[in-house]
Symmetry: C2
Subunit: 364 residues, 2 copies
């Protein structure tokens, strides 16, 4: 049915009407006092969402652009980095790091399993010369629905003392607790079309004092993604380049909604939605790709069992106006993924489960 | 008066209601067939606007991000480049090029004057060893309201044979004729909040076959702004990373409006608006910063004569709800700039001139 689509993919996520209408306002000048006031308010609200006292920098870029900024600003060619790889996004940060001449050692786990914190402990303890300059981790692996044990891995990084921890929190921020200052995370990247409940186009990077220290000696070339001008502009409630004004209107509206709901309530809701989704899928007799203990709170990856994943997605889309995500790379056709991230209520998950039940009945 | 602001700055430019409402639609999945169809249509319309048969690549970035992509994809560290510098943006491309280790030779002119094509001819003719790999030119210098003689400079680049011509057309594309294929321009960068009539957040790069040849041996590190994955995805009506979906809805609406108006009519309108603005300012007794023959069609820079530029801007803003731009860097307080780019009609320019007349009367 036209214009009736319900998004249950890991991003873009559903956008509240209040946010869509805020975005449709006419832009004002980004160098005006009125817009400076908006930037100032956004900066405060972003610190609240990120649970940090440090700046959160807003870029006109996708989550990948934000992660690139989070990596290239603090490292130099030839620097040794450990990259956790247990899915499509972990793999991407390894490829990106190699593109910039970093010496990458991948710490891998099978897709659908968690990274083993012990692997990180071993590599970091071995490194008595402190050659490892950063550990790059995907917190919530969107391709498989696995939440990595960031807290434990980070403890091993802290014990190492030298390495920065750089976190892809693209589908965890605003869904699960990522207490940046409490844990001492150095760099945390995220993107707008996820827990933020706004359309794609904004990337965010939270940066610790330790990372800014590393910035001083980092020599990878950069300009558009050089974070120092963003920091400098941030302090004056400004931006180094023209910011995506209307997406920032949207961000303002969504952060207001998030503050009204409260951080703990948001995390609880995502936990509840994940539980309902997983139990519902199990009740329909379909196996889950990741086990309960390591499940991401953004998406649930489902093995379609004797059915064709793409056929299920097609019926869900055409008959029930529900968009599910497919599997990526070698998981294409082998899993489908149900998103429950951002502006999603229990009703949405129940609708999707109801439609999935009908879909399976038609395929039986 | 609240929500009554009229933008007459060089960007963001006014956005038509049709575009704002298109942008406020709920996002759909960027990997869906429906969105692929939109990308396909956009790609065709962008070729029309750029007067090229080659791909025009759409990035989630500001105009500066688009220009960075247009430079770093086709060059290697140590490559010699000529950069035209007669304003804030020419200066920026020199700084950017140096940040990436290019060997920059600036060809400068005083702010408010045109770059001299003869300077380029001389440097290019001298270079018998063909060491110059690119000539980087700002077509319409937004900081001063000067249109550089791209056509002539490009002829000298073509006579050289080896160098690429890389053009910042951020405030010329969609305002003045930039016939990319006819002139044989290699790389042309632009941004959405200008002639495109949509909010900021999209950058565009048109790339020639010759530039793609240069890409093959270019070694500057890149990932998010690596244009090859964009080209590959483009061919499949897709994108390498999550695109700013709602801004692309906006782009679709604005390109439809531009096609309805017609390219020549758009160029004629900008010429007419520039003429009206300049004659109107002269009639009010204020000197123009750039002379008529070299005037940009996007903005008109005005010397406030015995008045204070910032005071004029303040009254225009507070009393008449018209936002004008100030001067940048050493021109701060010394000029103000009236934008007439994009979704601007004769009525708007007449309104601004009327308000300017009243403002001057109050200051007399």
């Amino acid at each position: 049915m036209q214009d009736k689509l319900m998004l249950m993919i890991p991003g873009p996520t559903p956008v509240p009407e209040r946010v869509l209408l805020a975005m449709a306002k006419h832009p004002i000048g980004h160098r005006s006092g009125d817009f400076s006031k908006i930037i100032g308010e956004l900066n405060e609200d972003l610190k609240w969402l990120h649970q940090t006292k440090n700046e959160v920098l807003t870029l006109c870029a996708s989550g990948t652009g934000a992660m690139e900024a989070g990596i290239i600003n603090f490292l130099s060619k030839g620097d040794r980095v450990l990259v956790g790889n247990n899915g499509k996004f972990g793999e991407r940060w390894a490829i990106l790091s190699r593109a910039f001449g970093l010496e990458v050692e991948e710490i891998s786990a099978e897709w659908g399993k968690q990274l083993d914190p012990e692997d990180f402990r071993a590599k970091l303890e071995e490194d008595t010369e402190k050659k490892i300059k950063a550990v790059i981790i995907t917190h919530s692996e969107t391709s498989t629905g696995v939440l990595n044990d960031l807290e434990t891995i980070n403890k091993h990084v802290k014990a190492h003392g030298e390495a920065l921890i750089i976190v892809d929190a693209v589908t965890s921020l605003g869904a699960v607790n990522v207490p940046i200052d409490e844990w001492g995370l150095d760099v945390v990247g995220s993107g707008s079309q996820k827990g933020y409940m706004i359309p794609p186009g904004l990337g965010f990077v939270a940066v610790s004092d330790k990372a800014w220290e590393a910035y001083k000696t980092a020599t990878l070339p950069k300009f558009y993604l050089d974070l120092a001008p963003y920091k400098k502009a941030n302090a004056k409630n400004s931006s180094p380049f023209t910011p995506p004004i209307n997406l920032m209107y949207a961000l303002k509206a969504s952060l207001e909604m998030m503050k009204e709901e409260g951080l703990q309530n948001i995390f609880d809701r995502h936990k509840r939605l994940t539980h309902i989704c997983r139990e519902g899928v199990k009740a329909l007799g379909l196996p889950l790709y990741a086990s309960d203990e390591i499940a991401a709170l953004a998406i649930t990856a489902v093995i379609p069992d004797k059915h064709d994943a793409e056929q299920i997605r097609s019926i869900m889309r055409k008959k029930y106006d529900i968009a599910l995500a497919g599997g990526q790379d070698h998981l294409s056709g082998k899993i489908f993924r149900m998103g429950h991230l951002g502006f999603v209520s229990e009703r949405d998950v129940l609708s999707a489960l109801g439609a999935l039940k009908e879909t399976l009945a038609q395929l039986a």
